[in-house]
């Protein structure tokens, strides 16, 4: 965006947005296609495209060339220093979602079954993922939302609306800070304490749910070296960690089991009160299993379903050297010499949706219609029922391929609710909207970040021409319709299903 446009926008936003014309803001903040839109042309996966495919929700038009110009490492450093990236446009887009900034008591005051509150968080999450310039930050928000998964549909209690606050004050505040800070914030999060039943963990009726999951899922991992006794002891330490009627964290002294405990071999003396829980968190944060377990998940997320041990080791080393500094760990991961050889990683449905919108510079207005698609595809953010978060391996998702194809077809035909996707706009912009082969070649490179291989080219061009029934001339309506179906085959091909 040019300086003059930004200045103009700033002046305009002052009047337009406040007076409620969110549509105007929306359109004005839509990124423009670069004048000289460059797409990769090599035969193999482009290393910069590979980085962007993993570290963002998919490159936007021209972004591979842009990052190539500034250098991958410099781009990465800038992304990790996310605070310094101006993200005003997204902030403006989010203004319409009142619930994002509400206090706990206000969120809970609406009463049960308020779909608008849970939907607004999903809509805002999609908007941010599509438009935010803090791209790696948004991907990490997604990662931690899975790691510290909270299900919006646990029950009909209004406490579940506090996931909005968990997203704001836990996940987003600490997505790129130290793991320990993130864990501590999560352990004080009313939504988490409710989701995993610690709000009813009292001395007379201990509830071990959170105690188990904080070790199994959040820190040590199932083979991390704890016993059933450790779970009971951690549960005892966390008795009384609960929430108030206003939906704030509160320590209920009268519920607390104040006797002596032993957690993972460390004695926690009697009389510690709320500090028992703090000690547990410190033990877990500093436990070597935590560094390994979380590093493994990061490598699985960004590199491969079967995480290469040497990359896990490298992350663990950085973890130990920096006290669990997430930025440093990510830097190690993305600059690791083996990163470029990472095998294909299947997009999960939510990632597929985002990559379609980003690749095509589609306009998304924040409508809730996309949520239905995500539900259908089994990947509505904050909708995974169990506390382990959405699975991150292809074996689980591959069988949804029909849904992937349906989504891709609907997107290309501009049938997604709240989305404006005009493929001809791009074709015209780069001047390939006259001849079929030109258009196929261009979009092949744009969608796959490389040229089509011979098999793909034969299948796609063969499909388009249908033995000569459709000519090269794209000024004819029948040919243009055929081209849209052709691009559907292109975007439905295996290469686009991978990150």
């Amino acid at each position: 965006m040019s300086v003059s446009r930004r200045a103009f926008l700033g002046a305009l936003l002052g009047t337009v947005a406040v007076s409620g014309c969110s549509q105007a803001v929306d359109r004005l903040t839509q990124p423009k296609l670069p004048d000289n839109l460059l797409v990769p042309s090599g035969a193999d996966r482009h290393p910069t495209a590979h980085l962007l495919n993993r570290a963002t929700y998919g490159p936007r038009p021209g972004q591979v060339a842009d990052v190539e110009r500034v250098g991958k490492e410099r781009w990465l450093r800038r992304q990790l220093d996310y605070d310094s990236i101006n993200d005003k446009e997204v902030d403006w887009k989010l203004r319409r979602f009142d619930s994002l900034q509400m206090r706990s008591e206000d969120l809970m005051s609406f009463g049960r079954n308020q779909t608008f509150i849970v939907n607004e968080l999903v809509q805002a999450t999609i908007l941010r993922a599509v438009y935010s310039k803090r791209e790696l930050f948004e991907v990490m928000v997604g990662f931690w939302s899975d790691h510290f998964s909270i299900n919006h549909f646990k029950d009909t209690d209004t406490v579940i609306f506090l996931k909005t606050i968990d997203d704001r004050d836990v996940i987003r505040r600490h997505a790129l800070s130290k793991f320990g800070d993130l864990l501590k914030a999560s352990a004080h999060s009313p939504a988490m304490l409710h989701y995993l039943d610690n709000t009813v963990n009292e001395k007379s009726h201990p509830n071990e749910n959170y105690a188990r999951e904080i070790m199994e899922l959040h820190t040590l991992g199932v083979d991390g070296g704890y016993t059933e006794t450790d779970i009971q002891e951690v549960a005892r330490c966390l008795t009384g960690w609960s929430i108030s009627g206003r939906g704030r964290f509160t320590f209920r002294e009268e519920w607390h089991d104040d006797g002596k405990k032993v957690v993972l071999g460390q004695e926690i003396p009697a009389g510690g009160g709320q500090k028992d829980g703090d000690k547990v968190l410190d033990i877990l944060i500093n436990h070597p299993s935590t560094a390994r377990f979380v590093s493994t998940k990061l490598v699985r997320r960004f590199v491969a379903d079967d995480p290469p041990p040497n990359m896990i080791d490298a992350c663990v080393q950085t973890w130990q050297a920096t006290g669990g500094d997430i930025k440093q760990i990510l830097f190690t991961l993305f600059t690791h010499p083996d990163f470029e050889q990472a095998p294909p990683k299947l997009k999960r449905p939510y990632e597929l949706l985002l990559s379609i919108l980003r690749t095509t510079n589609a306009h998304y207005d924040g409508d809730d219609g996309l949520i239905d698609w995500l539900v259908r595809l089994g990947h509505r953010p904050f909708g995974w029922v169990t506390p382990d978060g959405f699975p991150d391996v292809a074996d689980i998702w591959a069988n949804n391929l029909f849904g992937y194809w349906q989504l891709e077809r609907a997107a290309l035909h501009n049938e997604l609710s709240g989305v404006d996707l005009d493929i001809w706009d791009i074709a015209k912009h780069v001047g390939v909207d006259d001849k079929a082969d030109k258009m196929i070649d261009f979009f092949g490179r744009m969608f796959y970040n490389r040229t089509l291989n011979p098999t793909e080219e034969a299948a796609i061009k063969g499909f388009y021409s249908d033995s000569g029934r459709f000519s090269q001339d794209l000024s004819k309506d029948t040919n243009r319709r055929r081209m849209l179906d052709t691009l559907m085959i292109l975007i439905a091909g295996p290469a686009f299903q991978y990150r």
């Binding site: 299900n151 549909f153 646990k154 029950d155 009909t156 039943d197 749910n209 294909p344 299947l346 259908r376 089994g378 990947h379 029922v385 169990t386 699975p391 292809a394 074996d395 689980i396 998702w397 591959a398 069988n399 949804n400 391929l401 029909f402 194809w405 349906q406 077809r409 011979p454 098999t455 793909e456 034969a458 299948a459 796609i460 063969g462 499909f463 021409s465 249908d466 033995s467 179906d485 559907m488 085959i489 439905a492 091909g493 295996p494 299903q497 991978y498």
Partner: protein, 414 residues
């Protein structure tokens, strides 16, 4: 097939890229008969789960005419014993009878293809529709436990590479909770919705092009593509509007009838279906039960009978289970209806059920044996489902499907 020509043209056009081998599986005459049956490991029954929503009045469906207390509690609504005059229950055994409105089902019982487990339900005491359904569909006995569905967990535990995309279907706008947890379960209103485009020629061309695109794709995506393209082809050849049920069976146009018909069509087409969920009802008959219940029961019985007759040659590998969230109060209320109760009936239809129309440890309707005025539970619904899963599906993990539950066979199967 009208589109053969364009397919042939397409093959010629792409012959250079040796797509021929991959196209083979799409060629109708070469379609393998058991397209999705993975040798040896799968091969279990197709599970068809019907949920009677709203709390079906089990006492007026499978009538305990041998229990005098039944007639004392239901002076108006009680269904008369088989030896009475006029409208009366049809004898199942010397204690239980079938509501006359369900007479279409009598034949299924007679042929020994169905058993009804009475005084069955969830040990959870909730009388709230939402909570009781939630507990049963999640396969737990209370609020705690996993939030996914029992059937979803079973499917997840037994998933294999190359499973059909039509492996699990909820015939509904919204996926039934029982299926939650299996991400590849589809909510479909009709199999006609399972296509890439309504234009048959175009769909055909697209399938062929995608076949080429995925030809060398590695597992699991390549396998999934192959399974998906086969399923699309299978569904395209079903043409549900022209589906002819066997044995002159007739489904009606209710949600249940449509769901059962499409389930039958998919099973016959070997589409790889393993689980289907269908809803029926609103069985919440607080008032005017004598008007509201009969049409629901007739629809239920006639469509189940249609499915039975239609699937006669397939009943060896199909199990139907019918549940409701709870039964209704023993004592009828002042409004000619019944209120929310507890114990109910779970019906199981299969070639392999025990030769006994009703399986029950009858707790009696004597006030001393009621639980807050409701029929007691003497059979846990999870034991019925566990028995089905362990005896009629090849392998499952009951500890995962019904966590914390200790399985005690009820004797649903012989």
């Amino acid at each position: 097939m009208s589109n053969t020509l364009s397919r042939r043209d397409f093959i010629r056009a792409t012959a250079a890229v040796s797509a021929y081998g991959a196209l083979r599986s799409l060629w109708p005459s070469w379609m393998p008969r058991f397209a999705f049956a993975n040798e040896g490991t799968q091969g279990g029954d197709v599970l068809v789960c019907i949920f009677l929503r709203g709390g079906a009045d089990a006492l007026n469906m499978v009538v305990p005419f041998g229990d005098d207390n039944y007639y004392r509690a239901r002076p108006l609504l009680g269904i008369k014993p088989p030896d009475a005059r006029g409208e009366r229950a049809l004898e199942l055994d010397d204690f239980f009878g079938l509501n006359n409105d369900m007479r279409a089902m009598q034949e299924i019982f007679k042929t020994g293809h169905m058993t009804a487990v009475h005084a069955c339900g969830s040990p959870n005491a909730s009388r709230s529709h939402f909570e009781a359904m939630d507990v049963i569909e999640r396969g737990t006995d209370g609020e705690t436990g996993p939030t996914s569905g029992w059937l979803g967990r079973h499917l997840m535990a037994t998933a294999q590479e190359g499973d059909s995309p039509l492996r699990a279907i909820g015939w509904s706008d919204k996926l039934q909770k029982s299926l939650h947890g299996y991400v590849s379960a589809n909510a479909l209103r009709s199999i006609a919705d399972f296509h890439l485009t309504g234009d048959i020629d175009l769909a055909n061309d697209m399938s062929l092009a995608l076949t080429s695109m995925y030809e060398t794709s590695a597992a699991p995506l390549g396998t999934a593509a192959n399974a998906t393209l086969q399923a699309l082809e299978t569904v395209r050849r079903i043409n549900i509007d022209e589906y002819k049920p066997a044995n002159r069976a007739k489904y009606d146009d209710s949600e249940l009838g449509r769901g059962l018909k499409q389930t039958a069509a998919l099973i016959k087409a070997e589409a790889g279906l393993e689980a289907a969920c269908i809803d029926h009802g609103n069985f919440d008959t607080h008032v005017a039960q004598s008007q509201l219940l009969p049409p629901l029961l007739t629809t239920f019985a006639e469509n189940l009978r249609a499915f039975h007759d239609d699937m006669l040659d397939y009943l060896d590998r199909v199990t139907v289970v019918v549940m409701s969230e709870f039964g209704r109060r023993v004592q009828e209320n002042g409004g000619g209806g019944t209120d929310h109760g507890h114990g109910g009936v779970v019906y199981v239809m299969s070639n392999h059920v025990v030769q006994q129309p009703v399986v029950a440890r009858w707790p009696g309707l004597n006030a001393d044996f009621l639980q807050n005025g409701d029929l007691q539970i003497t059979a846990d619904y999870r034991d019925v489902l566990s028995e089905i899963l362990s005896k009629r599906t090849a392998r499952t993990d009951l500890g995962l499907v019904f966590p914390g539950h200790v399985y005690q066979p009820i004797g649903v199967f012989g």
